[in-house]
């Protein structure tokens, strides 16, 4: 590969090597041929698509995005009606995808961590239960799991009139979950403002005071200070708001359904629960492997130095385990997001479902497909980008 200095030594390499055996020529020629083939293939495919579109009288433009969608969407956090445009319908779908993904990631992390730690418990029974949970979920298809939750549990909940009532009040029935939800009033503004300021201040105080402590060794009570800020500021906001910052929007039974509150459809909950339990089983294995990757000597050394067990976990074990845990954890998050597309099997209107409905109603499969895939790709790429930044950061501290 490195015979690139033919003229420097006296031997006349250049004239003796025929060009078809010259590695530099081969390399360039191979690449040119491949590039031409790839472009040719792309051209062939695109011309076929254009031909097919002309024959069937389909349009290949994206101007249909402004036309009115004409189909209803079951649940939407934006005001939606069928007269809105396709673009708007896609936006609703993206928001629904992000909603189920973000909430799912949050709960899957909590459940996965609990199960992963339970797997390492010294209690034999707890460890076995965790193992059973993991093996159950890892060995059945997610689609079957989702259908089991949807058909077996959430569809079979009692009728609206016989709802389960949980404290809150939260009503649970065939039509989903009805949550009591805070409603904004004029008094909410100062409260929200002060709370946000409080959170920001607390974070700043934590970072600054902690750095002072790390550099000087003085005890700055950074934890205590942050907590005090976190309590005091919302309290001031609460006082200004007169003790009642939000109005509780309680769901009320009227006729055959509940009015008010925040409604989560059975499709959403089934999808969420299925994704959370399935992903949690994989996260549990990631967490277990991460904790086990920290050598036992670290634990013993920390004990020998005399650290408290909470400090051992927080200052010695976790920082090292996280380095192993985070990359596969993020890929599980991405899996969860991609798996949310299985919603088409139970009818939760996320982006894939909206895309399929559009294809059924208005055709334009190619454009819809491009839009939907672009959404998933950008979610993936943004997450990978953040992961790469993180990986670079932790590699700096690697010894």
């Amino acid at each position: 590969m490195t015979s690139q200095h033919p003229s420097t030594n006296g031997v006349q390499f250049h004239s003796q090597t025929p060009f078809w055996r010259d590695e530099r020529v081969i390399r360039i020629a191979l690449q040119v041929i491949t590039a031409v083939l790839a472009i040719g293939l792309l051209y062939w495919v695109i011309s076929n698509v254009i031909n097919a579109a002309e024959q069937r009288g389909l349009s290949l433009g994206f101007d249909f995005l402004d036309e009115s969608a004409g189909f209803p969407i079951g649940e939407s956090d934006l005001p939606y009606d069928p007269s809105r445009s396709f673009l708007y319908a896609f936006t609703v779908g993206v928001i629904n995808t992000l909603k189920v993904s973000i909430i799912g990631v949050f709960f899957a992390t909590i459940l996965g961590t609990i199960v992963g730690i339970a797997r390492l418990s010294s209690n034999w029974l707890i460890s076995r239960i965790a193992l059973a949970f993991i093996e159950f979920h890892r060995n059945i298809p997610l689609l079957v799991l989702l259908l089991l939750w949807y058909r077996g549990v959430f569809i079979k909940l009692p009728k609206v009139q016989d709802s389960y009532i949980w404290p809150g009040p939260i009503y649970i029935n065939q039509r989903g979950l009805f949550l009591t939800w805070p409603r904004f009033t004029p008094q909410s503004t100062p409260f929200v403002l002060f709370t946000v300021i409080g959170i920001l201040l607390a974070i700043t105080a934590w970072i600054v005071l902690r750095r002072i402590r790390e550099t000087t060794g003085r005890n700055t009570y950074f934890g205590l200070v942050s907590v005090v800020i976190l309590v005091v500021f919302p309290a001031i906001g609460l006082l200004i708001a007169g003790g009642q910052p939000f109005e509780a929007d309680v769901p009320v039974l009227s006729g055959f359904n509940f009015k008010g509150g925040y409604q989560l459809s059975p499709e959403f909950i089934a999808l969420l629960v299925g994704l959370v339990t399935y992903t949690a089983a994989f996260i549990a294995e990631v967490v277990r492997a991460g904790i086990q990757s920290v050598s036992k000597g670290q634990h013993e050394a920390a004990r020998a130095v005399g650290l408290k067990s909470s400090h051992i976990l927080g200052l010695v074990i976790m920082p090292q385990a996280l380095r192993v845990i985070i990359p596969p954890l993020i890929s599980q998050y991405l899996n969860l997001t991609k798996n949310s597309s299985l919603a088409i099997f139970i009818g939760y209107p996320e982006i894939f479902f909206i895309g399929k409905t559009t294809i059924n109603q208005a055709g334009r499969a190619v454009q819809v497909f491009l839009v939907v895939m672009a959404v998933y790709l950008s979610i993936s790429l943004v997450t990978s980008f953040i992961l790469n930044i993180y990986n670079r950061r932790i590699q700096l501290v690697e010894r």
């Binding site: 590969m1 690449q31 491949t34 579109a53 093996e135 259908l147 013993e300 597309s341 099997f345 998933y376």
Partner: protein, 404 residues
């Protein structure tokens, strides 16, 4: 955990291990573990009791028991079932021979296969959904496995021949299933009639075997020093891994026909298989890339010093070492592909799950018995996947991954 070590004046001799000691050490070693143990026992008892009650008293298993053949082969013509029987015999011989020849993992695979045969033979089907000859045939295949086991003992049968036989059997099985114009006795059976476990296994096995070479090429391309290769392969891998499988299945079933000129028509099942292959190839490529990275550069430099060219280095030095390291993740990927075949029901492929659902939809008296069918299908997937993941752990031990 380690609080027990305290130096006292005299140390007691270790207690003899007994059941009570074990219980005290593992279940009641401190107060919160005792509480956890008691709560878990109550929870387990409750779950087991409800499950037991549901399975034996509440559930109505008719949708599962009445139509075993639908679950196994779908609408495959009943007078052509002998072809599938022939495939089973080939498989039995190969499994038996490989068990003897290679042992270890193949033993687990063969046993899984045998369990499957026994399971089909004993399928509780009161309405005579599964004729007695078929059950007998399934049991007779156990004897064929033993025959294969004997054949595997023949000294002249080298491992290479057996591997070749496996590859050939894949093609032979496809021809047997589909039929061919060249043979009078093999009528063409349209793939729209294929269904059930047959299609599930076809998608999984076909997906993994056909995607493997593509995945290896993609991985090599991504490692290449030629920028054009590297870029094309990286884009393909990242795009495919960035989108969900169901998206690729829609692509291959709805849009690929538009990509091709009208003269070329691909069968619906083959289009779904194409989606599986593209998906699986990208993940195989990433697994293989991990294996390639594990090959020490010294190996490549030594090969160069000996005067091997790039092709020889890759195929005789790098790949054999890289592929050995990636067998466990490939088996893991096969398991997930096997589970993912259920998604093909979204593009109107009659695999196991959609057969189950269509049985319910087509029979009015079965409506509302979704749980039984779903539970049954979950069980099938669970048993297969669990046995395979155990096999992959055996491979890991046998190959000594991480010890070389």
């Amino acid at each position: 955990m380690t609080t027990a070590i305290q130096s006292k004046g005299k140390s007691k001799p270790p207690e003899p291990p007994g059941l009570l000691t074990w219980i005290r050490k593992n279940l009641f070693n401190n107060w919160y573990n005792s509480i956890l143990t008691i709560v878990s026992i109550i929870l387990i008892a409750f779950v087991l009791f409800s499950l037991f009650r549901w399975i034996f008293f509440v559930a109505d298993w008719r949708p599962v028991t009445t139509a075993p053949l639908l679950y196994l082969v779908g609408q495959y013509p009943r007078d052509q079932l002998w072809r599938i029987g022939l495939i089973l015999i080939i498989m039995s011989l190969l499994f038996g021979a490989s068990w003897r020849k290679w042992g270890g993992v193949m033993r687990t695979f063969s046993l899984t296969y045998a369990v499957f045969l026994i399971f089909v033979a004993l399928w509780p089907s009161p309405q005579g959904g599964l004729p007695l000859p078929i059950r007998g045939f399934m049991l007779a295949n156990l004897a064929v496995i033993l025959l294969g086991y004997r054949i595997g003992g023949i000294k002249k049968l080298r491992g290479m021949y057996l591997a070749l036989a496996w590859l050939l059997s894949l093609a032979a099985n496809l021809i047997l299933l589909r039929g061919a114009d060249a043979f009078d006795i093999l009528d063409i059976v349209s793939t729209t009639l294929w269904g059930g476990l047959l299609v599930t296994l076809l998608l999984a096995v076909g997906g993994i075997t056909l995607s493997f070479p593509i995945g290896v090429l993609l991985a090599l391309g991504r490692q290449s020093t030629l920028p054009v290769f590297r870029w094309i392969c990286t884009i393909i891998i990242e795009v495919v891994r960035g989108v969900p499988l169901i998206g690729l299945l829609f692509l291959s079933s709805l849009i690929v026909p538009l990509f091709l000129p009208p003269e070329i028509r691909i069968d619906r099942l083959m289009r779904a298989l194409l989606g599986m292959i593209i998906f699986s190839a990208a993940y195989t490529a990433e697994n293989v890339r991990g294996g390639l990275a594990a090959v020490p550069t010294g190996q490549i430099e030594a090969a160069k010093a000996l005067g091997h060219n790039g092709f020889q280095i890759t195929s005789f030095i790098v790949l054999p070492q890289a592929l050995r390291a990636v067998i466990p993740p490939i088996v893991g990927q096969f398991i997930s592909l096997f589970k993912d075949t259920t998604l093909a029901s979204g593009v109107a492929i009659l695999e196991l799950l959609s057969v189950g659902r269509s049985i319910i939809q087509s029979t009015p008296e079965f409506i509302g018995l979704q749980m039984e069918v779903l539970g049954f299908i979950a069980l099938i997937f669970w048993v297969f996947s669990y046995m395979m993941s155990n096999a992959s752990q055996q491979i890991e031990v046998a190959l000594g991954v991480g010890e070389r």
